[in-house]
């Protein structure tokens, strides 16, 4: 659509007006790190964040989400989506949201995710600080983010605000925007390009070469077992991943013991019992019994399996898994580069 400009001195008023109008979820500081949270005041907003602990997918796919509620009269949907703004999302997280949008809507349309997604206006923002473990510049470079309604870039004296959809346009009325100059638009492009030059970690080859070589390594049990030697099977790499969307479903009763809910909870394929079934009489079968098999499954999911569907890898290079892994073995860059080198 179009590029606008807002001066630094008008920016807080704009954010304040947004907060007045709608719930706004944005990066805020939590001790030394950052999280997406409901913004209470403009000064809480931290667009200089490097990466948030959890990705913004939690807005559409919460860690615990009721799918249905039931009582003696039967079951009904538990959906109560409300209009909201997700503000300050880095482009790698928008790419991840694009992926979960597709995965939750294809084949069987999952309204429990999509209703929250469809009631959300996403404002992306440029990366002002690059996280130590990020590698977004070298992963899935053929795929561009598309799900954001507007893109905010910090430039000299203020912000360039590029609107991409009607939802994005609708935000202009909340602030003192003016048309951006060509110089400001060029500066914004430069600023965004600069962030890509600052990743400390880098995949050595492109998406297709990686997919081929990682798939070819499938049968190398020694490799996978070695990579996963220190794995605690804790699932932290899954929990912090913006493209992981596996879940468990559990029923719980309310205190009245007649009503309750069926809830989905984030689940993790690295945990030991993720693919385990009971055969009865105490016998079980675990279809991914070893740590190596589970570790391999995650890497295959990120680098190989979903590529045909997504047009690129199911990894956006945020580096959250690398940082979250207690044993520091989850880093996709180290795993993939090792396979590429072998």
């Amino acid at each position: 659509m179009a590029e606008s400009f807002i001066r630094n001195e008008d920016f807080a008023v704009f954010v304040g007006a947004l907060i007045e109008a709608l719930p706004v979820y944005a990066p805020v500081a939590k001790r030394s790190r950052f999280v997406f949270e409901r913004l209470e005041a403009p000064e809480e907003l931290r667009l200089d964040y490097d990466v948030t602990i959890l990705p913004p997918k939690k807005l559409f796919f919460p860690p615990a989400q009721d799918l249905i509620r039931f009582d003696e009269a039967g079951a009904r949907a538990a959906l109560e989506p409300t209009e909201k703004v997700l503000f300050g999302v880095h482009f790698y997280d928008v790419k991840a949201i694009d992926q979960t949008d597709l995965l939750f809507s294809e084949r069987n349309f999952d309204v429990n995710y999509m209703a929250h997604r469809q009631t959300t206006t996403i404002v992306a923002s440029n990366i002002q600080t690059v996280s130590q473990r990020a590698f977004f510049a070298s992963v899935g470079t053929g795929v561009q983010p598309t799900g954001h309604d507007a893109f905010l870039t910090a430039v000299a004296g203020g912000y360039v605000f590029e609107t991409r959809t009607e939802r994005g346009e609708a935000l202009l009325k909340f602030g003192a925007f003016q048309p951006a100059t060509d110089a400001q638009i060029e500066e914004a492009a430069r600023v965004n390009a600069t962030a890509l030059e600052q990743c400390a970690e880098k995949l050595e080859q492109g998406t297709e070469a990686i997919a081929t070589k990682v798939r070819d390594a499938f049968g190398d049990d020694e490799l996978w077992s070695d990579l996963a030697t220190d794995c605690f099977s804790c699932g932290s790499c899954n929990t912090v991943c913006p493209t992981c969307y596996c879940f468990d479903v559990q029923d719980t009763w309310n205190v009245d013991q007649t009503s309750g809910q069926r809830t989905r909870y984030w689940d993790a394929c690295l945990t030991e019992d993720f693919a385990k079934v009971s055969l009865g009489e105490g016998a079980t079968e675990n279809f991914r019994e070893t740590r190596g098999a589970r570790f391999r499954h995650r890497i295959m999911r990120k680098a190989v399996y979903l590529n045909p569907k997504l047009g690129g890898p199911a990894c956006v290079g945020c580096g959250r898994c690398s940082a979250a892994c207690t044993a520091d073995i989850a880093d996709p860059v180290r795993v993939i580069n090792r396979i590429l080198a072998s």
Binding site: Q118, F247, V249, G260, G280
Partner: protein, 280 residues
Amino acid sequence: MEHQCHWTEVENIFLPREATIVRVEQPTATEKHFTLKMKDGRPMEFEPGQIVELGLFGYGEIPLGFASSPTRTESFDIVVRSVGRVSKAVNRLAAGDTVHVRGPLGHGFDLAQLRGHDVLIVAGGIGLCPTRSLIQYILDRRDEFERFVLFYGTREPCLQLFHSDLACWREAEDVEYFETVDVADPTWTGNVGVITTLFPKVELTPETRAVICGPPIFYRFVVRELDQIGIPRENIFVDLERRMKCGVGKCGHCQINDKYVCVDGPVFSFADVQDLEEAF
């Protein structure tokens, strides 16, 4: 992305339908055979081999294969083995009780591939439940198929399911039925041995379409026998079991490499899954 439809107009894939239990039988110490009827009067329309999520509020859902043929539209059957929280609770229910079902889900037997051919079904243990849907279908539409051979194996005689069906199949002319048990008891007069000991009893042609459903260990040995007969791998169909939560291709539990058993299966051509290391 383009959002085609507004959320309020879309069906919630997790919202179940009510069904009434119209009959309960207990064929073994741990299994119950339920006959269900949809409460809204709209029959469950499914293909043999498809899945239904059986739910009990407050306990959860379990995925099961339909155990009766869609040619019998009045009601449908399922068999539940008491193994976990949900199945144990379901198996305490009685006729007249209500359950909640979602389905049909997944991809069943490709009947077009079986019609006009000899069909061999090899069922082990509880694997007879989803295959019973196909067995009944073939028997109900017998003219559409050529020769029909059925192998059924259980560990012990007391683990056999569908007793009246078995009695009927033993006498029937339209199915060549063979059964075995791994370990006999004093009442057993039939074949003793693993499922593969039934193969010498019948001459099968390489054109036969084969269907296999049984415990994980079962497939490798049965496929070896089918290889000997010369049945091509693409004419062998397997019905796989996995941990499954959502049944709609989202939750990830049932994945075999890049395939979701709940939507791509549970029935696969053996040729499609034989090279997947996690399949068997």
